[in-house]
């Protein structure tokens, strides 16, 4: 709504003027607000409920494959998710340990209520940041740019940039069988009015569906009938800052275990008998659900050849008995949920504390966004998180920090920060959303990244901390610590490459059990590390004079050396990738003027206006042949200008 119209309205008042206003204090909103405020901008963060800041309404965990990398990247840029997660963790693991370090992914169970409290306090302590409970119903515009927001209570908050991070709340409804309620997740109020406001501005909307499983009381289940899953020692924290300050995660003895069970034949039967009551199959739910995180009834229907599915039982915190049943989300009616839960091993007498539900919500079609996460349609409006079609806390936070930074950059009149696909998973995530779009809630997966060996959790700081420092989110103190770490890595790598060891019996005794032929002449330590099975730690016996270095240094040294050849190949590919990314397409290019583009490509390009050939090549409907045509057009243009 144009800000000039408010003068006609009753019961409104001027509530304040800010640089940046953030709508929604979920994982995207918290990062966005923190980043903008930390960059010195006067920022306000709105939430529908102050007791639900950074709520974890679904799984009580942070990290996992690809998501763990995201958390470390957010931290590397100067974000807060990692720090909060480290403080609230009740169990830590490194997934994919049996595979290579490129796909090691940290994951931690969270104390859910702690997480919200710790995050809220951190935000309250952030200078320049106001945390405000209010229901935003209008986005105000002025001369075609975002200019502020209006609350349900009539408060007008003026702002130079707005970050919309409304999660799954816009016009949401929850569904349990036949019971449909207009509600946000977790019984929280839904957000009303923003959808129509966006539509009026011409922003295209989509409607998605997601869901969450039941929670049961731990006192009512028998863990003896389940497989136990303990945490691990010596996991690095999510936060690089904490890691460099010598932080150690708690020992396994202080962690809380998870459990797992398989569904039974009875589970399958209960679901089969009640499929007609599933809103997914009866057509009540029209939103698109996530394929990779399907409801349990979906799994049984789609994978009919599988007689059972694995369910993980996760604790929700230290001061609660609530257990989360991962992999058991459903939109079947409550009475059926009861029967389903009781069919699981150890859960014959389980008491349900919260029921499962599916939730439908409005979101922005992310292809209407620029790579900076600013709307291409309404200037000054940024958006991040599930409202952009993603799924997951980490994906939301990863967009949040970028939206917050770029809202700040916009206000400051500076260039936006763009993380590309070779910089980090954050870049892959945003690029996928804004150039390819999505037709289901988008989950980050390592397979979406082309340069997976390079985009590791252990080097996220080396990839992104310099950018975080340049933008102003990384303190001088932390940056000098980081530089020292890089220096140590480089020094130790050089030492291993130039230190040659003799073919002693000691070396042979180490190599032979690993199935490695002992060398006949002198060989460098670096060469030895490249051999299968050989580790930095293991070589200690022949490398007695090595300096005493922290784990976070030696781990990176080891990975860099072990994967040297493969990384070199990836770096060569990155260079080629960047060549296309830097082939800029002029903003005012008239695609009707480019001979040879197919009609579909012409329309898509005119609509999405990609910044570079690289980005154009990833738009669906734009073929490599179309890109060849664009390359030729650019080259011809260049030659013409040269003349």
């Amino acid at each position: 709504m144009d800000i000039s119209k408010i003068s006609d309205m009753e019961h409104i008042y001027e509530a304040g003027t800010f640089d940046v206003a953030v709508i929604g204090a979920g994982h995207a909103g918290c990062e966005a607000a923190h980043a903008a405020a930390a960059l010195g901008l006067k920022t306000i963060l709105f939430t529908l409920h102050l007791d639900a800041v950074a709520n974890l309404p679904c799984n009580p965990s942070v990290g996992g494959t690809a998501k763990g990398q995201l958390v470390r990247e957010i931290d590397a840029l100067g974000g807060i998710m990692g720090k909060v997660a480290d403080r609230c963790a009740i169990q830590m693991r490194m997934l994919n340990r049996s595979k290579g370090p490129a796909v090691f992914s940290p994951r931690a169970q969270m104390d859910r209520s702690d997480y919200s409290v710790v995050m809220k306090e951190l935000l309250e302590d952030t200078p320049n940041l106001t945390l405000r409970q209010a229901h935003i119903t209008e986005i105000l515009t002025e001369n075609g740019s975002a200019a502020g927001v209006m609350t349900e209570a009539g408060g007008i908050y003026r702002a130079k940039a707005i970050v919309l991070s409304s999660g799954t709340y816009m016009e949401a409804r929850t569904i349990r069988g036949e019971v449909i309620v207009e509600s946000g997740p977790d019984g929280l109020p839904r957000s009303e009015g923003l959808s129509s406001c966006l539509k009026e501005e011409g922003i295209p909307l989509l409607r998605f569906k997601t869901g969450t499983p039941v929670r049961v009381n731990a006192g009512s289940v028998n863990f003896d009938e389940m497989d136990i899953q303990e945490g691990e020692d010596d996991i690095p924290p999510f936060s690089f800052a904490e890691e460099m300050n010598g932080y150690r995660v708690m020992p396994v003895s202080e962690q809380i275990p998870c459990h797992s069970v398989w569904t039974t034949e009875e589970t399958r039967q209960v679901i089969k008998d009640n499929m007609d009551r599933s809103p997914l199959y009866s057509g009540v739910i029209t939103g698109t659900g996530p394929r990779y995180c399907p409801s349990i009834e979906d799994k049984f229907m789609r994978f009919a050849d599988k007689s059972r599915h694995l369910i993980f039982i996760e604790p929700m915190g230290r001061r609660t008995k609530e257990l989360y049943l991962q992999g058991f989300s459903t939109s079947l009616p409550e009475e059926v949920q009861e029967k389903m839960v009781k069919s699981l091993p150890g859960m014959r007498n389980a008491v349900i504390q919260r029921s499962a539900y599916a939730i439908e919500y409005d979101l922005i079609d992310p292809t209407s966004l620029k790579a900076s996460l600013e709307s291409r349609i309404l200037k000054g409006l940024f958006s991040a998180g599930q409202v952009n079609g993603s799924s997951g806390y980490e994906e939301a936070a990863g967009q949040g920090i970028i939206a917050g930074i770029n809202a700040a950059m916009k206000v400051l009149g500076k260039d936006p920060l763009i993380i590309d696909r070779a910089d980090g998973y954050i870049g892959v995530l945003i690029d996928d959303l804004v150039t390819k779009g999505t037709n289901e809630p988008y989950r980050m997966m390592t397979s979406r990244a082309e340069y997976r060996l390079f985009l590791r959790q252990d080097n996220a700081d080396r990839r992104l901390t310099p950018a975080g420092y340049k933008i102003g989110l990384i303190s001088e103190e932390r940056y000098s610590q980081f530089k020292e770490k890089v220096r140590l890595i480089e020094e130790e790598t050089a030492r291993l490459m130039s230190t040659y060891v003799a073919p002693t019996t000691e070396l042979a005794a180490y190599l032979e059990p690993l199935g490695q032929t002992p060398p006949k002449s002198g060989v460098s330590l670096a060469e030895l590390i490249k051999r299968p099975g050989v580790t930095y730690e293991g070589l200690k016996i022949i490398d007695k004079d090595r300096p005493d270095l922290p784990d976070y240094v030696t781990r990176s040294v080891e990975v860099d050396l072990k994967y040297e050849g493969y990384l070199a190949l990836e770096m060569a590919k990155i260079e080629k990738f960047r060549q296309l990314e830097t082939k800029a397409l002029p903003e005012d290019i008239d695609y009707d003027d480019v001979k040879g583009l197919r009609i579909e490509a012409r329309q898509k390009l005119a609509k999405m206006r990609p910044e570079s050939i690289g980005r154009a090549s990833r738009i669906s409907g734009v073929s490599p042949a179309d890109c060849e045509v664009l390359l030729v057009y650019l080259e011809a243009l260049r030659r013409k200008n040269d003349e």
Binding site: T65, L95, K99, V103, Y451, L569, E570, L580, V632, K640
Partner: protein, 463 residues
């Protein structure tokens, strides 16, 4: 607007002259007097795409009829080049073609540059680069086998075959993703053995293709055959007999061919470059000496060599004059001028030849063209001995394709090794992706910024 005669030079029943350029149909209109046209239409301009008319091409100045022709029009973008086009079918005499083109050029239409039709088609998005590349290969093909190979690639057969390997690689990568992405679910059927076996399958498929390059290369680069022997051993006579042209001067004076003379011929569909070398002799003549050195060099770098031994050459002379390298050159020993008489030393020379790897022995008389077939057999045998033979009729003829396929094979091996070395399947996945990138440059799935350079190099656009 540009035009060219698209049928071969020389006299034929009819010939086709193609004109391309937006507005070219209207441009031609004044020069074509309609006799009868599709749908009773009156002029060329009225015709829709794919319609023809029968008419008279007339010189507007002299008002003279040049020829009666059929003109088919194509409207942009539905034409070969993507522009408006006209195809004029005229009579195939040299005079008619010349007159017609002269008329067209006098109206402001430009003569087409080599490959300009394909280049325009490419720029207008009617053809991908590999398609254009294949068209160029077809245009340049000057033997039946090379043409066939080019046509197969143009028809997408290569992309199709590479697609088979790509599918296996994609499947291997999908398995890897299951292993990596869902570490908590170990009930998948995805495992390293299956990844390796799929990578193997893809590698073998590509190997078959790369093996065909032995033959394919000969089609694009031609089989280079050196004719080697002492002066006056009959090399030139033989060369002339094989090529049917009097390119070398045949005289009875030894040392007539001082410099190497090359002629391109096709033998049983195989493109061949015959190199008629200067006779190898121990001479003091400076010019001749250079020729001799050059002959030796050609001998050692050719694909094949015909070594000629005249009837009066002894074993000692053979050893002294012809330094036969025991190398990969496919050597054929020819006892020449058998019409004059048999060589008394034949058995001993044969024995010597076998010791340096002679593959075949032929008796031939140049003057009477006797046993030319034996030589043709020898060429065909050599060709068939190169590579594993054609891969279901598909040959890699293009060096760029070969380099990309070889690189892809190398990456597949590297990926397998990564798994075997315990580097993790995700490492293998990274390398397999690199292999797919290479293949994508053949099939047109990978966009590369080098491409503009390639295109500009090949087509010199924008000049």
């Amino acid at each position: 607007m540009f035009a060219a005669c698209s049928t071969p030079a020389g006299i034929s029943g009819i010939a086709v002259i193609r004109v391309s350029g937006n507005g070219c149909i209207e441009h031609l209109d004044p020069y074509v007097k309609t006799v009868r046209a599709a749908g009773g239409k009156k002029t060329l301009s009225e015709l829709s795409g794919y319609e023809s008319l029968y008419g008279l091409i007339t010189d507007p100045v002299s008002n003279e009829v040049i020829d009666d022709v059929m003109v088919t029009v194509f409207r942009a973008p539905h034409s070969y080049t993507g522009e408006d086009m006209a195809e004029i079918s005229c009579h195939g005499s040299l005079a008619v073609k010349q007159e017609l083109l002269r008329l067209l050029f006098s109206t402001g239409i430009e003569p087409a540059l080599p490959g300009q039709f394909s280049r325009t088609a490419f720029i207008n998005g009617k053809m991908t680069l590999d398609g254009a590349e294949a068209v160029m290969d077809v245009i340049n093909a000057d033997s039946a086998k090379a043409l066939e190979a080019g046509r197969r690639i143009m028809s997408g057969a290569l992309a199709q075959r590479i697609g088979i390997a790509e599918a296996d690689l994609y499947e291997a990568m999908a398995l890897i993703e299951m292993i990596v992405e869902f570490p908590e679910h170990d009930d998948t059927e995805a495992n390293e053995e299956r990844v390796i076996s799929l990578a193997d399958k893809a590698g073998e498929e590509l190997k078959k293709l790369s093996d065909s390059y032995g033959m394919g290369r000969l089609l694009s680069e031609r089989v280079r055959i050196a004719l080697v022997g002492i002066p006056n051993s009959g090399k030139s006579t033989l060369a002339n007999a094989l090529s049917g042209q009097e390119k070398s001067i045949v005289t009875d004076i030894p040392g007539t061919t001082r410099d190497a003379v090359e002629s391109n011929i096709a033998v049983r569909g195989i493109p061949v470059t015959l190199i008629d070398t200067a006779g190898i002799t121990s001479t003091d003549d400076v010019v001749e000496k250079i020729g001799v050195e050059r002959s030796k060099e050609i001998f050692s770098t050719a694909d094949m060599a015909f070594i000629l031994i005249p009837p009066d050459m002894t074993l000692e002379e053979t050893k002294e004059r012809i330094d036969m390298p025991d190398s990969g050159v496919y050597k054929v020993l020819i006892f020449s001028k058998s019409d004059i008489g048999a060589n008394p030393d034949e058995d001993r020379i044969t024995e010597y030849g076998e010791s340096v790897g002679i593959r075949k022995i032929i008796h031939v008389s140049g003057k009477e063209f006797s046993n030319i077939e034996d030589m043709e057999d020898a060429i065909e045998e050599f060709y068939n001995s190169c590579g594993s033979g054609s891969s279901e009729g598909l040959l890699i003829t293009n060096g760029r394709h070969m380099a990309l396929i070889s690189k892809a094979i190398e990456y597949i091996d590297m990926a397998k090794k990564a798994v075997q070395d315990g580097m993790g399947v995700e490492t293998a996945s990274s390398v397999l992706r690199a292999a797919l990138d290479e293949l994508g440059q053949i099939t047109g799935k990978t966009v590369s910024s080098d491409l503009a350079d390639t295109i500009f190099g090949r087509f010199c656009i924008g000049k």
